[in-house]
Amino acid sequence: MAESRPEPRRWFRHGQLIQFIPLLSAGIVLIVLPVFLPSHLQIVMTKFLIFALFAISFDLIFGYAGLLSLGHAAYFGAGGYTVAVLMLRYDINSFWIGVLLGLFSAALVAALFGLIVLRVSGLYFLLLTFALGQLLYSVAWNWKWLNSPGMQGIAGLSFPDLGFLPVSWNNLNFYYFVLLFFALSYFILRKITNSPFGHALVGIREGEARMQSLGYHTWLYKYLAFVIAGTFAGLAGIFFAYHNRMIAPGHFGVTTSFLPMAMAIIGGSGTLFGPVIGAAMIVFVEYFASIVTPDRWPLILGSIFVLSIMYVRDGIGVYLSRLGKKVSYLWGKH
């Protein structure tokens, strides 16, 4: 019986102290550590943040609303291509214009695609989102205006211009710049998922018919979640374009769409920190594998997918948090 257990001391039971340990260690890793890292690892850290943002945006519709999309890169690419086109075609380097228009175009694409894909559910939803992402891929491939001369994609991007804040960019301060936006996005998405709106999304995932009979306009909830997720994916795409210095049609395609899904599932979907853990896993394993055995990296990545699906079904992030809870419980017993 749970009641007969010895009560842990009060401040441990509420976990007021222990709950700061993950937060504190995350803070140390994200804020302090990068200063001491060599420049190329700061780039990897930036990439991790960008993909973590991409993955949590995906998890809003996948983990919370239960919609499996195979076309989430459409909004990622829309954001990235917007800032790339602004730089290539109009010489507009301003971050603020880029981020505004980039978010707008990502939201616009998501709003448009949402109207189409939310007519169906399940397997057909998967197929439709896939199809629309591939449509943008083929547009980006064929339309000369969206390509630098002599190649597929837009290359030669640079770090953006902050206008009133003259910054001389290096890899470290760009990292902190991304971190700022990542933390802000995480905070907003946390607010969203903890709000009644977020709970309604989980309700839709668990039983849409039940939510409908409770009077919820479920389509509208899913549509809003879809557009919000697309907008945050667009933000990730904007930073990715600056970070990667180039953007290619493939960043609209299914191989890019697949990454946030893999990160969310591996890390633990239906949470926000799970996809972040998943993104860390994939980005850092990719980095180290590409040093040790670049040719076999896809084999390792594929094996990680297979093994994590077979043996860590709920996701590594969720597993770690359970472990943390167990530790804090045992700690509290003393």
């Binding site: 996948f62 197929l127 697949f258 040719d295 990545l301």
Partner: protein
């Protein structure tokens, strides 16, 4: 006079491109049919289906080109090789993931990476050119048109296989069990039917067809290590257009997409792929479940 000649030339060009589209569409049908059946009947989204095609194509290349053996033996062994790999994936992994579409998608895409990388490891990353049976290397003359024999053979194989699969699904006991399992799994099992064995068989058959398609399709497309994803995309497009779980749908969708692609490439060369995706989107907007799909 000149106009007449150009008119005749145009008709011939359209006709040739139409035939090219149909033969390419037959390859698309071959690859999409197995995937569509597995998706519709077993509810498994097997994204590794394109990779199975590639495995079959590489095995076939080894038999037919490296060892210079019969092309038909290559097609058979390519099918068996892919069938074996598919069988292992189903028995070892997918069997535990029934009714878990998210996990299936991630797992099978993981196998795309694994199989692609293994193929590069074994066969190298080089592009292998088209190969065929020496007897089919020539041309067939028909009503003033001369057309590659291999393409005619592909069209015939596609039609025969479509008829065979349709017969298997609609007219045989296995097909009846499969359709019953699709409609009501518990009830079918309650009747004492070992659905697991049927599922195993269906998955093996679908993988076999994918590998077989790889060797047959290599007559047009050659073999390369990007095929795992390229063919997956094409198969998904065909399934979307034709509808999930329908042989007729896969055949119709394959031919439609093949023809749209061939005509698009011939008359709007700047729009490679785009015509195909556009056709798919239009069909989806009109009929979200595909032209001949079952309502899921």
């Amino acid at each position: 006079m000149l106009k007449k000649v150009r008119g005749a030339y145009l008709v011939e060009a359209i006709l040739l491109n139409l035939l090219n589209g149909i033969s390419y569409g037959m390859v698309l049908f071959l690859i999409a049919s197995g995937m569509s059946i597995v998706m519709g009947i077993m509810g498994i989204t097997n994204l590794a289906h394109g990779a199975l095609y590639m495995v079959g194509a590489y095995v076939g290349w080894t038999i037919a080109v490296q060892y210079d053996l019969s092309f038909w033996l290559a097609a058979l062994l390519g099918g068996l090789g892919a069938g074996l790999v598919g069988f292992l994936i189903e028995r070892g992994f997918l069997r535990h993931l029934y009714k878990q579409p998210n996990e299936q998608v991630l797992l099978t895409f993981g196998f795309v990476y694994v199989l692609t990388n293994l193929c590069i490891w074994v066969w190298g990353g080089r592009f292998r050119t088209q190969f065929t049976d020496p007897a089919l290397a020539g041309f067939v003359n028909f009503a003033g048109l001369s057309y590659p024999a291999a393409r005619v053979e592909i069209i015939l194989i596609g039609l025969v296989l479509a008829a065979g699969l349709w017969w298997l699904q609609e007219k045989t006991r296995i097909g009846a069990i499969v359709r019953a399992g699709m409609d009501d799994k518990e009830m079918t099992m309650g009747l004492g039917i070992n659905l697991e064995r049927v599922a195993m068989l269906v998955f093996f058959l679908a993988s076999f067809i994918a590998g077989f398609a790889g060797v047959i399709g290599a007559q047009l497309l050659g073999v390369n290590s990007m095929m795992g994803t390229d063919m997956l995309l094409l198969a998904l497009i065909v399934i979307i257009v034709g509808g999930v779980g329908s042989i007729q749908g896969a055949l119709f969708g394959g031919i439609l997409i093949g023809v749209v692609d061939a005509l698009g490439k011939a008359f709007f060369p700047g729009l490679a792929m785009f015509t195909m995706y556009l056709a798919m989107i239009i069909i989806l907007l009109v009929k979200p479940s595909g032209l001949m799909g079952r309502e899921l």
